[in-house]
Symmetry: C2
Subunit: 353 residues, 2 copies
């Protein structure tokens, strides 16, 4: 496999990679989900010159530019490539639109064997998703090894939800219906998504992603047994297939399955803000790094309160194996100065372990 020269460049601040691997760290690393995005006026300026979200995702130079902004402006310990989990279903044959104030929308959905023709899996990922790998290459070149770059993809279950429901939903009952009425179709689609996702993550790594995160945003809508069958089974295949770089699994709401996730071949487990991080540490033990989990709404408080709540969280950690983050993506109307207070509080915190 030919790796990008920039992927192999010496990383100056490799704190997050060491934390993921359970190596020694001087302080906890910190970054934010959705750090490259609407919270930054500089992002909105770049975005405003384009036709919309999708053009930004599909224009490597601009995607790289907004990926680097939070490194320069906020001082985070990692960049995450600016993209969307829905590029995968689109590459497979289901085009999506991102509708302002409403979210993603697919004209076609997959609810029958016949519709599986819109779920292609035998194609060259680099061919259809080259704009993402190109954005990764440009980002690393421009970062010059200052911090690591995180690649990502949606988990098969979450991608399945969008491909079958066709839009966001509180219950995803159309998606879940298929698990009962046509489990064979469900598994066939999940197998295809998994296959493409592994190739896609490997392409990101080859292009220069130093670690990858798998987002299972809708893990929490399944009961434990169904999540094992339709979610974790495929997540596990991805975790096992990615051996090149550290893997983070963020299965939001999967409080029933923390032990099963910790048993997978991953380095880091994302913890949402509803979960008790001490409970998760007790279930998981010392063999995995935890990532999270400040309530994103804390950043609406005063600077003093942000500092106090961040320190409370840090004080609750009984291990070095932590990557600090919010328990969900940062909300778009948060003041970037509050984000800086959060980040600086983490940076100034003296490790006790």
């Amino acid at each position: 496999m030919h790796f990008s020269i920039f992927a192999m460049m010496k990383i100056q601040n490799d704190l997050i990679l060491r934390a993921a691997k359970g190596e020694d760290i001087e302080r906890y690393p910190v970054w934010l989900m959705r750090q490259a995005g609407r919270i930054l006026p500089e992002y909105r300026e770049v975005r405003g010159k384009l036709s919309g979200f999708k053009e930004l995702v599909e224009t490597p130079e601009r995607a790289a530019e907004v990926t680097i902004q939070p490194v320069d402006l906020l001082g985070v310990d990692a960049a995450i490539i600016f993209s969307d989990i829905l590029v995968v279903p689109e590459a497979m044959g289901l085009e999506y639109q991102m509708i302002e104030k409403k979210g993603p929308w697919f004209e076609k959905t997959i609810r029958s064997e016949e519709a599986l023709k819109y779920a292609e899996f035998d194609f060259d990922v680099e061919d259809r998703l080259g704009y993402v790998t190109e954005a990764i290459r440009i980002t690393n070149k421009e970062l010059g090894g200052r911090v690591p770059l995180i690649g990502f993809a949606g988990a098969p279950w979450t991608i399945f939800c969008y491909m079958t429901e066709g839009q966001g939903s509180k219950t995803f009952s159309e998606s879940r219906k298929i698990l009962f009425t046509n489990p064979t179709l469900a598994h066939e689609l999940l197998v295809r998504i998994t296959k493409v996702t592994i190739q896609y993550l490997k392409a990101q790594i080859k292009a220069g992603a130093h670690m990858v995160q798998i987002f299972d945003s809708w893990a929490g809508i399944l009961g434990k047994e169904q999540y094992a069958e339709f979610g974790l089974k495929y997540m596990d295949q991805i975790a096992s297939a990615i051996t090149e770089v550290p893997v983070t699994i963020f299965a939001k709401g999967a409080y029933n399955s923390v032990v099963e996730i910790a048993a997978m071949d991953c380095n880091t487990i994302g913890v949402d803000w509803n979960m008790q991080i001490t409970d998760i540490r007790n279930s998981v033990g010392e063999k995995r790094t935890l990532q999270g989990n400040l309530d994103p709404c804390v950043l609406y408080s005063s600077h003093n309160e942000v500092e106090r709540q961040t320190n409370n969280m840090l004080n609750s950690f009984i291990s070095k194996r932590h990557i600090v983050n919010l328990g969900h993506g940062v909300y778009p109307d948060i003041d970037p100065e509050k984000v800086k207070t959060f980040i600086n509080t983490v940076k100034n915190y003296e490790l006790k372990h």
Copy 2:
């Protein structure tokens, strides 16, 4: 207090009341959340003659008619008054609209002290919500004591969410923002909602509700500590105030707070389909009845599979203290025949305890 004559009428099938109180039962009682609603063609016929959902809620004769339909057509062991949790914010001064395929929408929201003028609490509940109590009286008269009638209200936290966010949301970040930026305002609003809700539930009981359920649909979006402060505190006040009839608390997604809820003065705890009912039984012990929790999507399966999964759930019960239900409201496109299979499976199940 003057109780309705129909409330005091001897109930022929009082299985659910006995199950709630932990008394002896011959078999498990069964009903479904949203049983009075779009799954029944007979409901759609009544609804079709009116201008919409709100007119149905506000027309006691018609509300009573659709409340009774599932007793006649499906054979459930309880009726639940056809209404909406949002009648309470509306009575307090925030009018809502129910927008087809979108859900509730409020023109005004409460995000400042000034807006508290839209959160009245010093009014006669019977005056503004008399259409609900009248519907309860008519329902009991027409039921003639066949089964008990369940009254209900939203929990203060969930009503707070709608009054501050103004519509449904995945994150309710506007609502949660207030908890951080203006906790005094949050508590003032929650105190008011609690006060009105207690009066409203007491009015329902006086009119003839034989038991009441408090729905905390958005319990799961708060972390444990915030839910204790802004959710459970007020839930507890309601549970303590309602001494006349059995109380059910359904706090969806509150997996962190099951022990705290069980410590309240309630009879029954609702269990959503993501929770493991055996885990909840282990946490709660034998002192409370559990209600739930078949995945509503199971009813999309074949009749045989509905029967099998229902029996699996029943076999997992290690106690008599159960009221059978789904783990969420029945989805509108479910075949009523599948609902009957679910109900009949419960009715035919032989109690082993």
